[in-house]
Symmetry: C2
DNA sequence: TTGCAATTGTTGTAAATGCATCAATCGATC
DNA sequence: GATCGATTGATGCATTTACAACAATTGCAA
């Protein structure tokens, strides 16, 4: 295996991934979010709620890759704007359940088509089979990174077994 | 073509891309950057210089997706730390050429193997052919997004070596 | 039951970020 | 050469962010 001493950016996967991610964020901010005064983090929270239903803040943090403290203030903001509600969980008195308001659902209904159009723009020219393979690769790489990094489970990973995320199993 | 009204995150490409990007950033920050007091943006600048040689700040902004104003302050910091030098371009008196110091090169030489190891961790289990296809897809999608919005100039990018940042239509 | 560690969320604080603006320089056109 | 718009970089400023420390609640174990 070649042990390079320099980094060829155009071949370096983290660079390709984050460069594309930045471009997607910039485009969507301009095309859809700017006119509504929303940040990309807000959009991620809204979509996470749309996709998963009402969730606790810590779950939203997990889904959106936004820090919990940042998320706390962000949710406060979204409540003020009237896009989400915060209510104490019935199960536990320290948990907070965040849910979309009807107004948020209408807003999202307006933005989702723009998001899908952007996705189509990005993948234009890509054969459907390659697109599916790419998505699968992105998911697999994410799983690889979320595994515990200790050498203990290295064997399990090499064996190709599908491994869980790092977080605790949902109880 | 199906016109969905909801967004399935696990199938939505921008989500998969940015989620993976965040994971890569977090892992590399922990594994390599934290102990040296470097930020991910600093690392990107350093690698961009390693890969491309001395560059102007605006070029580094293009390569790293970091805003020019942020970059200006960032370079100032890197100069203070002694990792890069700023000198006036000989060609133009307003341009500034940023270059790595020998110390930076030694530091990068230490970090690059960690970066490559992280890349190998991420792609473990992926057949080489699929990895190449994935990289090609990521590059193609980036190009699709960086083109002017209209489908007009699809051919122009083939000839162009450097893709310029999107700018408002020339008036 | 009591004690204690873990979970969940909030807040203080310093640093980072992005937008707008400004300054300096360049280049093309007259 | 003079003028004017474009390019490149720096800075003012308000916002956002992340890391800690903290508070409240929960669940487990002795």
């Amino acid at each position: 295996m070649p042990r390079r001493k320099t980094l060829k950016l155009s071949e370096y996967l983290p660079y390709l991934v984050n460069r594309l991610g930045s471009a997607l964020v910039m485009r969507f901010s301009e095309d859809a979010l700017a006119r509504h005064g929303l940040s990309i983090a807000m959009w991620r929270v809204l979509v996470a709620l749309l996709d998963n239903g009402p969730r606790r803040q810590i779950d939203l943090s997990e889904i959106t890759s936004v820090d919990v403290s940042t998320l706390s203030r962000l949710i406060t903001r979204l409540v003020q704007i009237g896009l989400v509600t915060r209510k104490r969980s019935s199960r536990s008195n320290r948990e907070v359940i965040v849910a979309l308001t009807p107004r948020a659902e209408r807003l999202i209904g307006e933005l989702v088509p723009i998001a899908l159009r952007l996705e189509r723009t990005a993948i234009s020219g890509l054969p459907a089979a390659e697109l599916q393979a790419t998505k699968a690769a992105l998911r697999a790489m994410y799983r690889n990174l979320m595994q515990p990094k200790g050498p203990i489970l290295a064997a399990a990973r090499i064996s190709g077994a599908v491994v869980r995320r790092r977080r605790r199993p949902r109880s």
